[in-house]
């Protein structure tokens, strides 16, 4: 049987025995899949840096459709995470965070072309010099939105009236932004600057935000939405925050 070939992003790998790895891939055609990469470890290993998290690769997968575990055949490197992910500390650590985020938001075996294209576009922007932190907020916003978890920014969640310029008040119980008539914020307030940033995120491709800066309050807001959905914290996020804090103090 010929292999299934697909573009993919490496999300993570686990050691398997002395010489192999199990690779979790986000493929364009089949969504998230697992595959055994024989000979991926040891002194003469086959795949070199192609299996580093967030490397973009073209893979050949052996196994029947919908298999629990494929076998990885050829794995050709399209974009190396090692090269541009190792640019600076922030980028290196943020890459792990992107990978864990994509992993957490991708159910196994369900193709999601939009999420795949989003991830690749974000990585491309980082490669072209965008801040990995701005792109982290971009990726979070869109993953949340693609899963129907991002509260609408333009209308009051309670009365449906259109909300204009200015900031936004978030109400936790209603899981959305409310207008001045519908009550007070019980969660975070986002400034007008934050709303403008988010408007831009949802209107423009990631490359347009290459030189943008992100208001600080967006990060905890997104973390709240993510934690509520996943019902857990992401490990890489904690490591990212700890490492950046201790590296600059």
């Amino acid at each position: 049987m010929p292999p299934i070939s697909s573009d993919a992003l490496v999300l993570r790998t686990n050691k398997l025995g002395e010489t192999s790895k199990v690779v979790v891939l986000l493929t364009r055609e089949r969504g998230k899949v697992r595959a055994v990469a024989k000979g991926a470890r040891g002194s003469r290993h086959r795949y070199h840096s192609a299996l580093e998290p967030l490397s973009e690769v073209r893979v050949g997968l052996y196994g029947r459709h919908g298999a629990d575990l494929y076998r990885l055949g050829q794995c050709e490197l399209i974009r190396s995470a090692y090269v541009y992910g190792g640019r600076d500390l922030e980028t290196a650590l943020t890459f792990s965070y992107y990978a864990e985020l994509l992993d957490a938001f991708s159910p196994e075996g369900e193709a999601d072309e939009k999420a795949y294209r989003l991830a690749v576009a974000v990585l491309q922007s980082v490669e072209q010099g965008a801040s990995s932190m701005v792109m982290a907020r971009y990726l979070e916003a869109w993953l949340l939105r693609l899963h129907g978890l991002y509260p609408p920014l333009d209308r009051c969640v309670s009365c449906g009236s259109k909300m204009g310029e200015g900031g936004r008040e978030y109400q936790r119980s209603a899981r959305g932004f409310v207008c001045g008539r519908c009550g007070v914020a019980s969660g975070l307030s986002l400034s007008a600057e934050s709303r403008r940033f988010l408007d831009q995120v949802f209107r423009e491709p990631p490359s347009a935000l290459r030189s943008a800066s992100v208001p600080a309050e967006i990060e905890p807001f997104h973390q709240e939405l993510i934690a509520r959905h996943l019902e857990r914290d992401l490990r890489s996020y904690r490591v990212l925050r700890d490492a950046l804090r201790t590296a600059t103090s």
Binding site: E18, Y82, Y97, R235, A243, T246, A247, T248
Partner: protein
């Protein structure tokens, strides 16, 4: 067929060791059964003593049977260069290669965000203390050329440089004895970057 409990229990334990499956577990168990009592007592005693006798060096964190390891106490080696490594077994590899006459510092891991391992879980504080003593002039970062190894190296460079120490990273390139056409693009690019006068 079921094994008598003492054999079955041993196979079960052996299987938990790295690289040993049920087949190898059986082979080892039967090998021991064919041997003498002295042999298996000797092996058992060595295993039992391992965690009692081996500890990590109070200075460099390498495995040792003393308070301070032989390398740290070796008067012929220089204190001016520290080679920072991920795991104790890297030390053996570097020592075998010869040519390095400084001291070591073992981190016992790398920053691995996906496993939840951050700088706090690594033995970094001891390294900073050693550098602050003022004798170290150069820290060689000998982490693997992986994204995690790279993140760890960048992190260490960031916190070591302000202490006034020279920070270097081991070179990456084409493995000796291999052929250039089998090198991947990333390795090749690094090898070109790291070229030297000839």
């Amino acid at each position: 067929m079921e094994y008598p409990p003492p054999i079955a229990r041993l196979i079960d334990e052996l299987r938990r060791l790295p690289g040993i499956g049920p087949k190898s577990g059986q082979r080892i168990a039967f090998h021991l059964l064919r041997g003498t009592k002295e042999e298996s007592h000797r092996l058992a005693a060595l295993i039992a003593a391992l965690l009692d006798e081996v500890r990590t060096c109070g200075r460099c964190n390498a495995f040792t049977d003393r308070e301070i390891c032989r390398i740290c106490e070796d008067p012929v080696r220089t204190d001016r260069i520290i080679c920072v490594i991920e795991e104790p077994h890297s030390l053996v590899t570097i020592e075998k290669a010869g040519g390095f006459h400084g001291r070591y510092h073992v981190l016992h891991g790398t920053i691995a965000p996906l496993q939840g391992v951050g700088p706090e879980q690594l033995r970094i504080q001891g390294l900073l203390d050693r550098v602050r003593e003022g004798i170290v002039e150069e820290a060689i970062l000998a982490m693997s050329p992986t994204v995690e190894g790279e993140a760890t190296a960048i992190y260490l460079a960031k916190i070591l440089k302000p202490l006034g120490v020279r920070v270097t990273r081991i070179a990456t390139g084409i493995p000796v004895g291999s052929e250039i056409e089998w090198a991947d693009e990333v390795t090749m690019a690094r090898a070109l970057e790291g070229r030297r006068e000839y």
